[in-house]
Subunit: 388 residues, 2 copies
Amino acid sequence: MKRLVLLFAAAATVVANAQQNIGFRATDITSPVVNDDHTVTFLISAPKAKEVTVRGDWEADGGIGKCRKVDGVWQYTTPPLPSEMYTYRVNIDGVMMTDPTNPFTCRDVGSVFSLFYVDGGAGDYYQVHKVPHGTVATTWYHSNTTNADRRLTVYTPPCYEQNPGRYPVLYLLHGSGGDENAWTELGRIARSIDNLIAEGKAEPMIIVMPNGVCTTEGAAGETSDNLSFRPTMTNNIPGAYKNGIFELAFPEIVNFIDARYKTIPQKEKRAIAGLSMGGMHTLAISANYPDMFDYVGLFSAGVDFSMVDMDQPAYANLDEKWRIQAQKEPALYWIACGTDDFLYNNNKEILRHLDEAGMKYVWHESTRGHLWSNWRQYFLIFAPQLFK
Amino acid sequence: MKRLVLLFAAAATVVANAQQNIGFRATDITSPVVNDDHTVTFLISAPKAKEVTVRGDWEADGGIGKCRKVDGVWQYTTPPLPSEMYTYRVNIDGVMMTDPTNPFTCRDVGSVFSLFYVDGGAGDYYQVHKVPHGTVATTWYHSNTTNADRRLTVYTPPCYEQNPGRYPVLYLLHGSGGDENAWTELGRIARSIDNLIAEGKAEPMIIVMPNGVCTTEGAAGETSDNLSFRPTMTNNIPGAYKNGIFELAFPEIVNFIDARYKTIPQKEKRAIAGLSMGGMHTLAISANYPDMFDYVGLFSAGVDFSMVDMDQPAYANLDEKWRIQAQKEPALYWIACGTDDFLYNNNKEILRHLDEAGMKYVWHESTRGHLWSNWRQYFLIFAPQLFK
């Protein structure tokens, strides 16, 4: 560790001229407003702007809304939106920004977005209700493979501490550009599982969300690289993408979790799932360690083999590994993809490989594309099928 | 709990036109750049803007920097800044926003700010180094007083799980407008204590950060009010401010922590400290429960008695309570305030009360005002004095 020296003496020589308040919310505008008919109205105060546009991850109007100035405030109202969580940014004269008066944001890869929910369906699951709540912890495990302490997020269910019993474990993997915060921040996973457990739809389970970028210790800003590592798509990071190192090292994580937490350390009580790049990780991990997981979930899996070094141990002889995995008859091999996903055809190709290997799987085809709304909804369908 | 209904069928009827990418970072600009001489350069791309200003919580130039357009990019460079963490926003033609290309943000009360560090002193402590790391968990306790599950943040030190031993506990309270995330997000407390422990300067300790706004379950966006509760200064919330309910109910939290965690449940191994409103809470809690805490820290304490109902049980007869507390001789009663703080004179008045009560205390007078830089630095001075 670099030697740290406190320099309070130096600070004391600075002439005091404190900015005791660098500007909290300076307007009475509340934006967005989710209306009773599930339309959503954005209100942006930008008196000198020539053009204001809202751009979000909904489908209506193509996710683009041109604002009109009404009583001096730029406004746009969407058509009615399906119940979901939505993220968006505002474009004011060519500058993309979060909604200036919305305090609720999340980071997706390198950009910060504003967010809101529409009630009445899936979106209800992503919100907090008066039900027993689990605990979300960020902690660190040591990886001998990468010779580093690495950060991961762990959800433990309500009553985990009081109950003397042991729990099944779901390992849940993020996509390219994501990190160990992605499933809690963008996936709203603690809320979904709290609510599914409270309704009796899902078994109480531990959910482990590791970091799948083996060149880093964890999320951008949370490692010893601090702010010098800026978040980017994982395929832009040399040595980080689909070389099979993370996949082959995965037992390190399982061993750490089994040692630290009250798990049931058996195949029948372990599941693994992942989105996009994490779907590819899931595919390879479960094929290479066929006695480790009884439940497998691929969410819009990034199964583009042209981008993978198929000579690497994790990816070599996959057809043969699938034959062995198929003979062990996993309790669930669940594959979900949207019809608009740019990986749709790649996923269909995987089905042909699995068919040849004699693997029994469930194919779930949804609408829409490579989107967090799909991944959140896949989880709501996948989690209730686990550990029954 | 409201009955939740999945409406996947309804979603399937929407014509698919997925926004598979709603716009990640679209520029090669990196802002800010912390230069070797500790000046900081901001680069803002706003081609159509008439005026661009940076506003931050540093003292140089009054924290305001007017940008000039250089090669089509708005730029401003600060004078050299003392080592710290800094937050700022950008004003483009009257719209306040985060720096469009800086992915690192934090929320303070109702506004989202961009952030950066300057190395070489206190700022080093707020960053991650290659040292053993503790665990940060958000969990929930039940309050009989408010008849609600309430959210709190708990730091456990490195080796907490492996070590069979038990640990002292610091209770650390936020200010008005803050919540149970404030000390981890804005206070960078997990990094500071990891680094202090690694240097042998502080004892390994548990740090508990509850929510001091007794009308809520927790931080805005994290409760069953979801996004309908927007963050605001606590004194704007009816029934939430300095009525003594949180203070009198405090043993609920201590009992929960002693039951859940491997604590040393003795006065000699308990500390309490808080900033601003949390300093007032600390003052009242430690006076009302003089056998609970041996270490007390007031950081820029919000000790404006004109805003408190002195007839409430928590605030009644404080002078008499202080006399009793003084007789019990706390191991440390530490009071810190900046010379520019608008609460400076109120804190000096508290010293006179404590003098009359015969309380031995340590007065730490810093430069600057009612600022997170002071509170982060107070922690670096306070924590090493605990549990020795």
